[in-house]
Subunit: 375 residues, 2 copies
Amino acid sequence: MKTTKLTLWRGKLNEIDQSIVDLLSKRLAVTKKIGQYKKRRQLPHFDLIREKEVIARLQTQTRNILLREKLPKLYHTIFSLVKEGYVLDNAPPIPFPKIGIIGLGLIGGSIVKTIKFQDPKILIYSLRRKNTSKNKLIKAELDKLEDLVKAVEIVILACPIDQVITYLRRIARISKNLKKKLILMDVASVKGEIVREMEKLTDANTQCLATHPMAGSEKSGFINATTALFTGKKWIICPHAKNDKTSLQKVKQFIASLGSESLELEAQEHDKYLAYVSHLVFFLSTLLFSFVNDNQLEALQLAGSGFISVTRLSSGNAVMHTQISQKNSIHLAKLIPHFSTLLNSVDLNSPQLAVFFKNTKKKRDRFLQKLQTDL
Amino acid sequence: MKTTKLTLWRGKLNEIDQSIVDLLSKRLAVTKKIGQYKKRRQLPHFDLIREKEVIARLQTQTRNILLREKLPKLYHTIFSLVKEGYVLDNAPPIPFPKIGIIGLGLIGGSIVKTIKFQDPKILIYSLRRKNTSKNKLIKAELDKLEDLVKAVEIVILACPIDQVITYLRRIARISKNLKKKLILMDVASVKGEIVREMEKLTDANTQCLATHPMAGSEKSGFINATTALFTGKKWIICPHAKNDKTSLQKVKQFIASLGSESLELEAQEHDKYLAYVSHLVFFLSTLLFSFVNDNQLEALQLAGSGFISVTRLSSGNAVMHTQISQKNSIHLAKLIPHFSTLLNSVDLNSPQLAVFFKNTKKKRDRFLQKLQTDL
């Protein structure tokens, strides 16, 4: 009798949840129509003011105080869903009917999921891994690299950085013998060395293109791959002297078809910028967690949301970050002592401290605002 | 005609949103019943496995891929709502019928909102500010500190740290003359100096209690205050030699009534721990943003979610953080060079780097897991 009551309520919850999800689906169908309508009339697609109005109106209609206060968070998630759908709906078609991929981790997996979402007819081939993934999205898992290269128009290298050059060389050798046109693109986080090698390997048959999507997560692996990982994000291309216009154009269209915006950058520039906004950031996040954990373990019980977000990256893929740190060691080895000196020069009792905190807040708020309006 | 179509769709969206919010309210009503039922039978309240099952089942029932992938995020927000409601529902009653508060920023505002949520009959008095807030939650905004002290059983100092000691002295002087029992508690982020002063000021009439809720946000001010800010969080009390048991007990009940768990710590220990998990963290976050912004502004256009979360705290209240840094300069001045040396000792080409990243990931994943099961 007692369990019946609980079972009854849980049944009720299941019904409610199902209705909520159905309504969310309906909501997406309506916003899709609105998106199409706005596109035809060239009206602006996203309206931050209307989003705020929607949340504010719902808040006045909600009597549950806790729910009312959580509505902005809930609706920001729903709005991001609408935006992702809009961007993917309005993306150009994928310019390759057959795609090969090597590496089905977070990035490779998300590329595959987004391709299949955009066009289920595209055939995707991968190399067979030790533990066969039996992934429904993949047309075939092949044993031989040669078979993969034969089957497709483009091979995406989404493998660990230290394997990229090995695969580039092996595939370029195969492609040369096949006398067919192949695009070979990578998605690694450090570009200098790869671009130098790509320029050597690029010829009439094989166009090697260096790219890097500005998207990721501290959660790694295919299991955490998602369809809209790249939507609204930048995707860098570092062209070299032997890249032809047609291939560059095709890769740009491919990037756009996944919902991303491509951006050309020189490889050295890419590596320098990434050292600032990504590689150093991972280092600080990881060193901070280890510093607190190893020197003052008792303090961890007091850690709040600030500590959690600043140390988030230290839960990232250790192997990948080791390789990134080493491959980009030239830039990183300059930044680390530079930042360390800056940190050491902090004068806690200087009247300038207040000014510094205030100015940094202003700069960051401006950066966030630009980010929001750019979306 | 064209606007009519858009208006029609927007009307449809409004209807859907209203239904979603109604269903969420119903969902909360059912989970409230389940919570009461489980409490009566002393069953465990939260069930991470069941939460995962609910999300997984809804995912199998959802055909929209983008929605399916966002369901975990949406439902984690909904589950946190359920937990907040449960904790607040099962909290003890607020032990003070009349409460005074000085400072209606993020912390003061959130205390007021949570008090009113827990018991709308509690009367709250505040000092009148320059721009009268006309806050409906406040019974009266008084001009004189003396009137405030006369009216209440407890005064909460939620003002900037540098004003805490001034108010402590002024209120203790008034309270002494009134010959009535008053509890005076603060919520500042640095405790050493405050506790020393509190011990001097505590007498038969006035019990000064040093406390610090482990909750906050980079968003400051009453406008960002929320009801459940403290729910499930730790709230530190740093008792001193002159604190009597009754007052300590009452303050603990008050903290519990706001949904927090109180934790006793010696003031020096508090300041040392906070230097690790909060004050140094703010410094690194802020220095990192300023470092990138000032040295390589172009790199900011490539910044992704990692950079955004690691630099989040640099959007925090600059005045508050300046005062914290200075008040806790003894501990912070030790940590900063210590961390800076650690950073400078990084050897990017050491084979130990991979081991260090891997071990830190393990430690942090363990920390996160403990945090989840503690909730």
